[in-house]
Symmetry: C2
Subunit: 113 residues, 2 copies
Amino acid sequence: MPNADSFKRGTVEIAVLAVLREEDLYGYQIVQRIAEKSDGFFTLPLGTLYPVLYRFVESGYISDRDEIVGKRLRKYYHLEASGKDYYAALLAEYRKTARGVELITRGCESDET
Amino acid sequence: MPNADSFKRGTVEIAVLAVLREEDLYGYQIVQRIAEKSDGFFTLPLGTLYPVLYRFVESGYISDRDEIVGKRLRKYYHLEASGKDYYAALLAEYRKTARGVELITRGCESDET
DNA sequence: GTTAATATCTTGCGTCGCAAAATATATATT
DNA sequence: AATATATATTTTGCGACGCAAGATATTAAC
């Protein structure tokens, strides 16, 4: 196997933006939502999520606001217009790569001799 | 955009193994063949290819033999049985990830408001 | 004879997913 | 009441790999 995370490069960004398209969410919730929607395939650890969120905030793709629930801080993240554009570009690029893989593997299915 | 190579992580291995499934090839030829088959999408530089080949030889997935053409050395690479298995595993894993992306982006198409 | 294509190989950089750990509150178990 | 588990944010540092860049040498084109 290649490194387990090889194929996931970039898909984490797609996943985060995808769930934020639907609703503002806080970090912990983002992880859960992604796990649900991807049928348990993407189970990103928080150490993966937060750096992505910070990068996105700095890039202006998302914004954050604090809410206090009980004594607990929740930082909600909101997808901005530029983030939607970025998401569209990412998704297009991912699919282009996926098509490339299909092309290159055509006639080389793993079950052929 | 994410780093241009993000989505290509791991796909280079798939591409190399895919073209070697069909025929023994030498390095320079592998790059050309991959470019043809992928319709120009994968244009891997030789600095990317060779380390992959060396890794594969060391893993036993491929073997190499020298051939002298004129005064020029050509190192042909041959896919071994374990390499075929590895290829099958890789491709399955890639498609699993691609399905995950489709799931997570379902209902979040980039053209929706 | 000079340029361009062919061919192999090496060095080093940057990115990013993740493990691991630190910190703190809330809920459930006993 | 004490303990364990779930909730929640944050930081540090590692490892893998695609690539740019460059070194070296042969062959073909002009």
